[in-house]
């Protein structure tokens, strides 16, 4: 099945002894000149690349105080060394977060610190050679920017920021990653990561309307580019295209239908994901985010809701206002923007949705916290809402729910192994190996809690898991969308057979 060794699932997760250079061969395809140039980067390695790289490093240190601080404050305590899923899965010591940071830090020291300039050997400082550049390209594409290490670092050093900076430096000298940069080009040309043009999108949504009506007897709509709608739904384009993502999209549509909401999607901003974050380019991230602002203004909406997408929610929750604000034209009574899980949860709290939870009785669910949602955002008005609300939604629609081991969920969640721009076939080895800790946790939940399915709220997590879990003896249909579960259980008004009393719904608080 694979031309590399797939790690073995054991009784518990073991931290491996390091193997020097175990993943030194891993390196994703390089972006072609046309894709580089579309984003304003040089098409290929520039002649004076060393100077350009050092200048970029200085530019980033000046712009982001955090980056400068992270380069300076590491004390090599070792707390992060066994925390990265890529280290655990590959045994390569350069996948220890501190070592990954040091790839950049050792060059920073050489050129920008007194000790490094005059006594480089004493402080581990090295010259910026082509070998060093190649090593950056390899190992900064073995980091999914999941930030698990930063939770355990006593100084709070965020390796994701170092990794983003490194990729920005690589782009600035003309060495970009094919997967991310090609996708960003499609967002700017067509509107989404897939390159799904408006007519194809309209055709796909029409097909879904037919499917849902055939299935339920209720004409649930999937509106596109509808001016004057109240809510703009921005969702990852994978929701239109892939499974189990599309079942989540059907769930959102059913929820909007039952709420009687006026909503629309946009063909111009038909992508929630923002790969500008993965490549560390503020300008690119902003350019992508501004499409959402423009769509909201053009359609005249009052609210923006984001679908199930991990890093989209980070960009939306943490950066959208800075990148593309102010959003003073939206209704201030609602969060700007709002997550689809918050939206559904609110309706559940108000007793506006009815469910037949037995529709999901053939499954025992667990929930995979997506790294960007769990560690970089919030939902609702309480700390930890980003962890509690998706679970509350699942529990409102499913009778059987079991969490995975506590040190693998919540803010300690393990990445799926495919985040941060690594979800590409040319990185399959690191993807499979990086999934090891999550797979181990899923096995524990399966063995001890009888878990049959794992739900996620991120397009990357869903695609990554469906692809890699067969390597570990699971099957791809064990991965589900959270709103797919909602979709299965929701009782649509007017559906044939919807006349029995809603006695089994504990959340309903009918007082009419």
């Amino acid at each position: 099945m694979a031309d590399f060794e797939v790690p073995e699932l054991k009784e518990t997760l073991e931290i491996p002894k390091y193997v020097d250079g175990a993943m030194a061969h891993s390196s994703p395809y390089i972006a072609k000149a046309e894709f580089q140039e579309d984003l304003g980067f040089p098409g290929e390695l520039v002649e004076n690349w060393q100077q350009v790289a050092l200048d970029k490093m200085t530019d980033l240190r000046t712009r982001y105080r955090s980056f400068q601080v992270f380069l300076d404050i590491c004390v090599k305590c070792g707390a992060c060394t066994d925390k990265c899923h890529y280290y655990i899965g590959t045994s390569d010591p350069k996948n220890m977060p501190v070592a990954r940071q040091d790839l950049l830090r050792k060059v920073y020291r050489r050129y920008f610190t007194f000790a490094g300039k005059y006594f480089p050997k004493l402080v581990g400082a090295v010259d910026l050679t082509k070998d060093v550049l190649d090593e950056w390209y390899s190992y900064y594409h073995q980091c999914s920017q999941c930030r698990r290490c930063s939770v355990f670092c006593p100084y709070g050093i965020d390796t994701a920021e170092i990794s983003m900076a490194a990729r920005e430096i690589l782009d600035s000298v003309g060495v970009g990653q094919k997967y991310c940069n090609e996708i960003l080009g499609k967002v700017f040309k067509i509107g989404n990561n897939l390159g799904l043009p408006q007519p194809a999108l309209a055709d796909t949504l029409e097909g879904l309307e037919e499917e849902v009506e055939d299935d339920t007897g209720v004409p649930v709509k999937f509106p596109l580019d509808q001016k004057g709608a109240e809510i703009l739904l921005v969702t990852p384009s994978a929701d239109f295209f892939a499974e189990p993502h599309v079942d989540g999209l059907i769930g959102y549509a059913k929820v909007f239908h039952e709420a009687g909401a006026s909503w629309t999607m946009s063909s111009y901003a038909s992508e929630a994901g923002n790969f500008g974050m993965f490549i560390g380019s503020y300008e690119t991230m902003q350019r992508a985010a501004l499409r959402i602002r423009k769509a909201a203004i053009d359609l005249g909406v009052k609210r923006i809701v984001f679908g199930e997408c991990g890093h989209a929610w980070r960009v939306a929750y943490a950066f959208l206002n800075t990148l593309a604000g102010p959003f003073d034209f939206l209704d201030p009574r609602y969060p700007v923007p709002q997550h689809i899980c918050e939206y559904t949860y609110d309706l559940i709290q108000q007793g506006k949705l009815k469910f037949d939870k037995s529709e999901n009785d053939h499954m025992t669910l667990t929930f995979h916290d997506s790294c960007n949602v769990a560690r970089a955002t919030r939902m609702g008005d309480k700390p930890g809402g980003q962890l509690d609300i998706p679970r509350a939604v699942i529990k409102a629609v499913c009778n059987n729910y079991v969490d995975m081991p506590v040190d693998t969920i919540g803010e300690s969640t393990f990445c799926c192994g495919g985040g941060g721009g690594l979800l590409t076939d040319d990185l399959m080895e690191i993807r499979v190996k990086g999934a090891l800790p999550r797979m181990q946790a899923l096995k524990t939940a399966t063995d001890e809690g009888g878990v049959t399915h794992m739900a996620a709220i991120c397009a990357i997590c869903k695609s990554q898991f469906t692809k890699v879990i067969p390597y570990y003896g699971f099957t791809m249909d064990q991965i589900v969308s959270v709103h797919q579960l909602v979709s299965e259980a929701i009782i649509l008004t007017g559906a044939p057979g919807d006349d029995e009393p809603d006695s089994d719904n504990e959340d309903s608080s009918d007082n009419e």
Binding site: Y29, K178, Y179, E182, I183, K186, N192, N193, L194, G195, L196, P197, P199, A200, D203, T204, G207, L208, E211, P236, S237, A238, F240, F241, A242, E243, H245, V246, G273, C309, L423, D425, D426, A459, I460, K462, S463, K467, M476, D477
Partner: protein, 110 residues
């Protein structure tokens, strides 16, 4: 990279997808399948032909539900699902079938 088809050398990208869509002819699919130890039967061809028709109209491969629905109509309802498509194209109907059909690889979070 390249492949040899009917005596012609056709350029491909790193992952074996045709560099120029217009280079495609049915033998391309057979050659690519043979490289992956697959022999194409008429069911494979139903999928490949549908992908090409859809691409011609929409400049993108069909979404999985569009594809399963179309195949269900052509080959019978019991085959209109992704499980069946994965049996035909174990590397993933989206990617493997697109490659044989000469279409670009679907990108993004898929």
């Amino acid at each position: 990279m390249s492949i040899e088809v009917n005596g012609k050398t056709l350029e491909t990208d790193e992952e074996g997808y045709l560099a120029n869509l217009n280079d495609w002819e049915p033998e391309v699919a057979n050659v690519m399948a043979a490289l992956e130890d697959t022999e194409l039967n008429e069911n494979h061809w139903e999928v490949i032909n549908f992908l090409r028709e859809y691409y011609e109209e929409y400049q993108i491969a069909p979404a999985v539900r569009v594809l399963t629905k179309a195949i269900g109509k052509k080959l019978g309802k019991e085959k209109g699902n992704s499980k069946y498509l994965y049996e035909l194209f174990p590397y993933g109907p989206g990617k493997q079938a697109c490659k044989y059909a000469g279409l670009p690889k679907p990108t993004g979070c898929v």
